[in-house]
């Protein structure tokens, strides 16, 4: 059944956690709530679950107003970022607990528990207590308990954030496969752009209690409705730089000249903010149109498969992403190339004016007043 939030807001002790927002989630849909810490992600999920009551607005499941309905009467499941299990129950009893409350027959419970346990690779651990499990196994148990319930709404609040780097990567992949086949509405909160892209589906970008943009994940990524969405949805951070559009060319940060061509042709002369993601900068020239930029290396971060080179250029700090592992010394002069075809242009108020082609199929659904 469809979940609808109508003009829902949340204020706690005079502090606004969520500004009024409207959200509709289709049955079986996969939704990511993306936002930095304190964006209001958890507040939103708690309202959806019915753990908290909205300060205003209505929550509807299908045509049913469930705004004041106790969480016990709703068909929801939730996984927290802490590993929450019943410490005095075995893994088996943990997974079985929602089914037992629902008065399902023993045999059926047993079948479903074992099925969920197998899916999450907990088979051999059913007799253990949660304390005797590793962090990853504890979170798998919590996931199994949430999945076994076959709820209408499954909420996952940064479920992987407390796991080791490598475990996170593995579980993330499994999760996607687990959700694909279900009729449940899945809502997955995260701060990490890559995680949002891996989960796929639709993305809601939240910042400071406001819904900035909603739409298919890849479109939101390719066509951020405003500067803030671009920032939230880029890791490493998107390079943002002030620039002026003249008659023939565009001057970035006073030093870099771009031709006013392609998707940037639509820009009227004036001041803009330009954004380009780190992986669209390269130390190798990949294209004839690319513009060379020179700066000083201040850090070179290696994440295992890619290298992020932090480059200082005047007052501005740029991040260049290179495939593979490369070593650049601190203080080294470096020349990198900027492809004008991948540059975003934002108006001074932050709204997107021009996006690289290829992202034009995206629909930018600015809601609740884009910053």
């Amino acid at each position: 059944m469809t979940l609808r939030l109508e003009a829902v807001s949340k204020t706690v002790g005079g502090e606004v956690h969520l500004h009024p927002l409207d959200i509709t989630l289709a049955p079986g849909s996969m939704n990511v709530v993306l936002g930095p810490t304190l964006a209001g992600k958890t507040s939103l999920m708690r309202l959806m679950a019915g753990l908290d009551r909205p300060s205003s607005g209505r929550v509807l499941v299908g045509d049913h107003d469930v705004t004041g309905l106790s969480v016990r009467r709703r068909k929801v499941a939730m996984v927290y970022q802490q590993f929450i299990n019943y410490p005095s129950f075995t893994v088996y009893d943990n997974i079985a607990s929602p089914l037992r409350r629902a008065k399902i027959g023993r045999a059926e419970i047993d079948r479903r528990v074992r099925e969920a346990a197998a899916m999450l690779r907990l088979d051999g651990l059913l007799d253990r207590l949660p304390d005797a499990l590793s962090g990853g196994q504890q979170q798998r148990t919590a996931l199994a308990r949430a999945l076994v319930k076959e709820a209408d709404l499954l909420l996952l609040d940064e479920p992987l954030v407390n796991l080791d780097f490598k475990l996170r990567e593995e579980l993330r992949e499994e999760l996607r496969a687990l959700f694909e086949t279900r009729r449940t509405i899945v809502v997955y909160a995260t701060t990490e752009p890559l995680e949002a892209l891996m989960i796929g589906g639709d993305t809601l970008v939240l910042d400071q209690g406001r819904l900035l943009q909603a739409g298919p994940t890849v479109s939101v990524y390719r066509t951020p409705a405003c500067v803030r969405v671009g920032e939230v949805f880029s890791d490493p951070p998107i390079n943002l730089i002030a620039g002026d559009v003249g008659a023939d060319d565009i001057r970035l940060g006073g030093a870099i000249l771009l031709p006013r061509r392609g998707h940037l042709r639509v820009l009227a002369p004036g001041a803009y903010r330009f954004g380009v993601r780190a992986h669209h900068l390269s130390v190798d020239r990949r294209h004839g149109d690319e513009v060379a930029v020179e700066g000083t290396v201040v850090l070179d971060e290696i994440n295992g498969s890619e290298t992020f080179i932090h480059v200082e250029l005047g007052d501005a700090l740029w991040v260049v992403q290179e495939e593979g592992v490369h070593g650049f010394g601190l203080g080294e002069r470096i020349r990198f190339f900027l492809d004008p075809r991948h540059v975003f242009a934002f108006a001074p108020d932050g709204a997107l004016v021009a996006a690289p082609v290829g992202g034009d199929d995206a629909m930018a659904v600015g809601s609740g007043g884009a910053a």
């Binding site: 590793s134 780097f165 490598k166 891996m198 796929g200 993601r277 498969s305 592992v325 601190l330």
Partner: protein, 382 residues
Amino acid sequence: MARIVFDAIAHSYLKTPPSEVSAPEVSAADGDWALRDIDQTWEDGGAYALLGPSGCGKTTLLNVISGLIAPTRGRILFDDRDVTGLTPRARNIAQVFQFPVIYDTMTVEENLAFPLRNRGLGRAETRTRVAEVAETLDLTVDLKRRARGLSVDAKQKISLGRGLVRDDVAAILFDEPLTVIDPHLKWLLRRKLKEIHERFHLTLIYVTHDQNEALTFADRVAVMNEGRILQVGSPRALFEAPRHTFVGYFIGSPGMNLIPCRIADGAAVVDDGIDGARIALDPALAARAAAATAPIELGIRPEFLRLADAPGEGAVAVAIAGVEDLGTYKLVTARLGPHRLKIKLGEDAPTPAERAHLIFPRERTIVYAGGRLVEGEAREGS
């Protein structure tokens, strides 16, 4: 500063450790040893990282260096001096912990001066050292403030600063120091650490489970698993020529593709459900691999695999099981018989059709026997 040498270090937290450190073959089943027979030299002035999953023994190793733990067996040498029985203080080690450790009642300045005062350094000299370190860590304006009121990252810088003020420090050890730091500030501290290393040329050893931190921070990364150091190498060597399958899997995101295979006629033969897919190997490599008795696995990183539409020389037919658009790149999952392979494609690359052909570039295809790298001729990692 010192060169630190581990001479057959082993440690068990049990009161009565098992008499023998078990052989590598049975290691997985035996969790009694947190560290198993480690021989390792940490060169003076090097920036090292200890990388591994939770419980691999990396923190134990760190505590053995600092002297907080006395190893069950083996010796530890600082510049050829046996320090196995010495206290942390006598070893002149500094350590930065996961959570910032500061002295609540002192100001930032007093915090930084504390290790010097305990060593009886003169006032004037203490002051100049503290001022210098505060300058490096951007703490000068906070010097007179109570340390308790500062933000977490500033506190963590103070813990680091207490190590830096001592000019006699043999090494600075870091135990996942960025865990509590806000993600947006992490890279600033990473940069600070790099700068400090370049400036002071101290021996730094950094423990983490996050490959990003390890590879960014260190010149040489030691990958650990189950109480053993599997490989010590530059970030690039770990990425391009992992000497152990675990290293291949652990480094890189996603990790290396590892496929069981057998060697025949200078090629790796992989079960593809039909009559076996042939992947051509470097002849010298194939010859050595053929001589190995342990089970053989083929290894290739997702970044190095290429897709072709048409069958061609050395291309292997695969079924495409899924394509994920991850913004900066596309991640393709391909099925080859019972095996799954990950392929990383550029963001502009066309989405492959249901069936495709996979090319294994010969210079990037490596082979493991019993989990260990089979050395080719020319490949000797930097």
